[in-house]
C-alpha cells in the first residue's frame, strides 16, 4: 500500500525477491522427483545470489558482490551438480511413495508462514532497516524446509531440505541485516560444501548397509529384530 509506494525501486525489488524465494520454498514442498527438486534448489540459490547483489547495490556494501558470486557458484552450480551426481550414482530418481495428501502439506506450509509472521512481529518492530519485513519470510523458509525434511522418506530429499534451511538463514542475514561479516560468510559456505561431501559418503555406506535410502527403513539397524 502506501508503505510500498514510498520505497525506492531497488528495495521493492528485494521484496519481490523475498516473495519469489518463499515461492521456491513452497515449490520444493511440491516436487516428488529428485531431479526437479535439485533444479528448484538451484533456482533458489540463484535467487539468493540476485538478492545479495541487489542489497549490495542498494546499500553500497561492495563485499556483498563477492558474497553473491560465492553463493551463485556454490549453491546454484556446484552443490546441485554434486547432488545430481549422487542421485545418478545411487540410482534414486524418485520418491518411493508419492506425497501423502499434497494439499494438506501445502496448507500446513501456508499456516507456517502465518505463524512465522506472527512470531517475528516483535523483532520486526525493533529493526530499522526498510526491508525488515523479510525477517518473517526468512523464518518461514526455515520452517518450510524443516517441514520438507519431516514429510519425506528419501534421504536425498532430506539433504536438500537441510541445505534449504541454510538458504533461509542466509536470506535472513542478507535481506534483513545487510550481510554478515565476510569471515562468517566464507566459513558457513565451506561448512556447507563439506556437509555435501560427507552426505555423499554417508549415503553410500547407508545404501550398502540397508540396501535402500528410505530413512524409515533405518529402524532395521535396531538390534531387537525378530
Amino acid at each position: 500500500m502506501h508503505a510500498l509506494d514510498a520505497l525506492p525501486l531497488y528495495d521493492q525489488a528485494i521484496l519481490v525477491m523475498a516473495a519469489l524465494v518463499l515461492f521456491s520454498a513452497f515449490a520444493l514442498l511440491g516436487q516428488s522427483r529428485m531431479f526437479s527438486l535439485i533444479t528448484v534448489f538451484a533456482w533458489q540459490g540463484a535467487l539468493l545470489a540476485i538478492t545479495s547483489a541487489l542489497v549490495a547495490f542498494s546499500t553500497g556494501q561492495h563485499h556483498l558482490y563477492i558474497s553473491a558470486a560465492l553463493t551463485l557458484a556454490l549453491k546454484a552450480i556446484l552443490i546441485p551438480w554434486m547432488l545430481t551426481r549422487m542421485v545418478t550414482h545411487l540410482g534414486v530418481r524418485q520418491e518411493a511413495e508419492a506425497l501423502g495428501r499434497p494439499a494438506l502439506v501445502l496448507l500446513a506450509g501456508a499456516a507456517l508462514v502465518v505463524f512465522s509472521y506472527y512470531v517475528s512481529l516483535p523483532i520486526v518492530h525493533l529493526s530499522t532497516l526498510v526491508t525488515r519485513n523479510t525477517i518473517g519470510i526468512s523464518l518461514a523458509i526455515v520452517l518450510l524446509s524443516m517441514l520438507l525434511m519431516i514429510t519425506r522418506r528419501q534421504a536425498m530429499s532430506q539433504v536438500v531440505g537441510f541445505m534449504a534451511i541454510e538458504n533461509g538463514l542466509f536470506f535472513a542475514a542478507v535481506a534483513s541485516t545487510a550481510g554478515m561479516p565476510m569471515i562468517v560468510e566464507l566459513g558457513i559456505a565451506f561448512d556447507v560444501l563439506v556437509a555435501a561431501v560427507l552426505f555423499g559418503v554417508f549415503f553410500l555406506h547407508l545404501r550398502d548397509t540397508i540396501d535402500s535410502l528410505d530413512v524409515d527403513r533405518l529402524n532395521r539397524l535396531n538390534e531387537d529384530v525378530d
Binding site: M1, A18, A19, A110, N133, T134, I137
Partner: protein, 314 residues
C-alpha cells in the same frame, strides 16, 4: 451525453472485436503447430453461417433450452459494457464491480448448465457436471485474486482501481506478481482452454464446455459461441486493466481514445500470442488433475495475499 455515446461505442467495439481475438489465437496456434492457418476473420464467417441456418431443437427440451443462449449472450454483453476497454470514467463503469462481474459469469454458467441438462442426454449431464465442478474449484482462487487486489487498491470497482494503479506509477509488488499468474491460470480454467479443456476437440468424452452446447444449432449456437469469445476477451481485458493498465484513456478526447485503442489492441494481441504458445507447449490434463491445477492457482493467490500482509503493509 458524449460519455454515453462513447460507452455504447465501446460496448459495440468489444462485442464485435471478440471473434477477431479468437481468430488471432487460432491463427497463432496453427502457425506454431506448423499447420496452414485459416483467415483471421474466419470466426465472423462462422457466425454469419450459423445465423443463417434453421434451428433444430430436441423434442425433450423446454423453454429454458431456447432461452438460455439469449441469457448467456446477454450476460456477456452486459459484462462487456461495464469493463473499461479504451477509457475509464464512463457512466457505465459505476457498475464495474469485480464481484458483480464474477456474478454475471456465474449466472450465465448456471443457465447454460441447466440448458445442457434439459435435453435429457448423457452428454449434457456430463458437460454440466464437469463444468460446474471446475467452476466451483476456480472460485476460491479467483476470490483471493480479487481480495488481494482490492486491499491494495482499496476498492472493488475496476475504474477506480485503474486510477489507483496509474497514480502510483511503476511499483514492483510481489503480491501482484503472484496474483497475476493465478488470474491467468483461473482464466484458462474458466474459458475452457488447454490445459483444462480443449476447445477444438471432437471427442465427446473429453469435453467439458463443448458437451454442454452439443445440442445447439443455428442462431442458438452462434450466440453461445460468440458469448464464449466475448468471455475470453473479457478475461484478457480484466488482466490488462488490473495489472498493465497504462495507455488507457482517463480523459475523453480523441487523442486519448486513439492511444487507448492502440494500447489495448497491442496488449490483447500479445496476450493472445502467450495463450497460443502455452496451449501448444502444454497438453490437456485429465479431469481429476484439474483440482491440483486449480489448487496451485489457489496457493499462488494465498501467497500473493500473504506477501501483501507480510511484506507490503508497513
Amino acid at each position: 451525453m458524449i460519455e454515453w455515446a462513447l460507452a455504447i461505442a465501446q460496448t459495440l467495439l468489444f462485442v464485435t472485436a471478440a471473434p477477431l481475438l479468437a481468430g488471432w489465437i487460432k491463427c497463432c496456434r496453427c502457425h506454431l503447430q506448423n499447420r496452414a492457418a485459416p483467415m483471421v476473420w474466419q470466426p465472423y464467417r462462422d457466425l454469419a453461417r450459423l445465423f443463417g441456418k434453421n434451428v433444430v431443437v430436441a423434442d425433450t427440451t423446454s423453454w429454458l433450452f431456447r432461452l438460455a443462449p439469449y441469457v448467456v449472450f446477454g450476460a456477456a454483453v452486459l459484462a462487456a459494457s461495464v469493463v473499461p476497454l479504451i477509457a475509464t470514467h464512463l457512466p457505465t463503469n459505476a457498475i464495474a464491480d469485480v464481484i458483480v462481474l464474477v456474478g454475471f459469469f456465474a449466472l450465465a454458467r448456471f443457465v447454460q448448465a441447466l440448458a445442457a441438462l434439459d435435453a435429457g442426454t448423457a452428454f449434457g449431464g456430463m458437460g454440466a457436471s464437469r463444468e460446474m465442478t471446475v467452476a466451483s474449484l476456480a472460485e476460491p482462487a479467483m476470490l483471493l485474486v480479487v481480495f488481494t487486489f482490492s486491499v491494495t487498491a482499496n476498492t472493488t470497482n475496476l475504474s477506480t482501481a485503474i486510477d489507483h494503479i496509474l497514480a502510483s506509477g511503476l511499483v514492483l509488488r510481489p503480491s501482484f506478481i503472484f496474483i497475476a499468474v493465478a488470474l491467468l491460470m483461473v482464466a484458462v480454467a474458466e474459458t475452457g482452454r488447454v490445459p483444462v479443456d480443449n476447445p477444438a476437440t471432437h471427442l465427446e468424452l473429453t469435453m467439458l464446455h463443448e458437451a454442454m452446447i452439443l445440442e445447439y444449432g443455428g442462431r442458438h449456437l452462434a450466440l453461445v459461441e460468440w458469448a464464449g469469445q466475448i468471455k475470453l476477451m473479457l478475461y484478457g481485458v480484466l488482466f490488462i486493466d488490473l495489472f498493465v493498465p497504462w495507455g488507457i484513456a482517463s480523459q475523453l478526447s480523441w487523442a486519448a481514445a486513439g492511444t487507448g485503442l492502440v494500447a489495448v489492441a497491442a496488449k490483447l494481441a500479445l496476450l493472445g500470442l502467450v495463450l497460443a504458445v502455452s496451449e501448444t507447449l502444454v497438453a490437456k490434463m485429465r479431469l481429476f488433475r484439474v483440482p491440483g491445477y486449480l489448487g496451485f492457482a489457489f496457493l499462488l493467490g494465498l501467497l500473493g495475499m500473504l506477501s501483501h500482509v507480510i511484506l507490503e503493509v508497513g
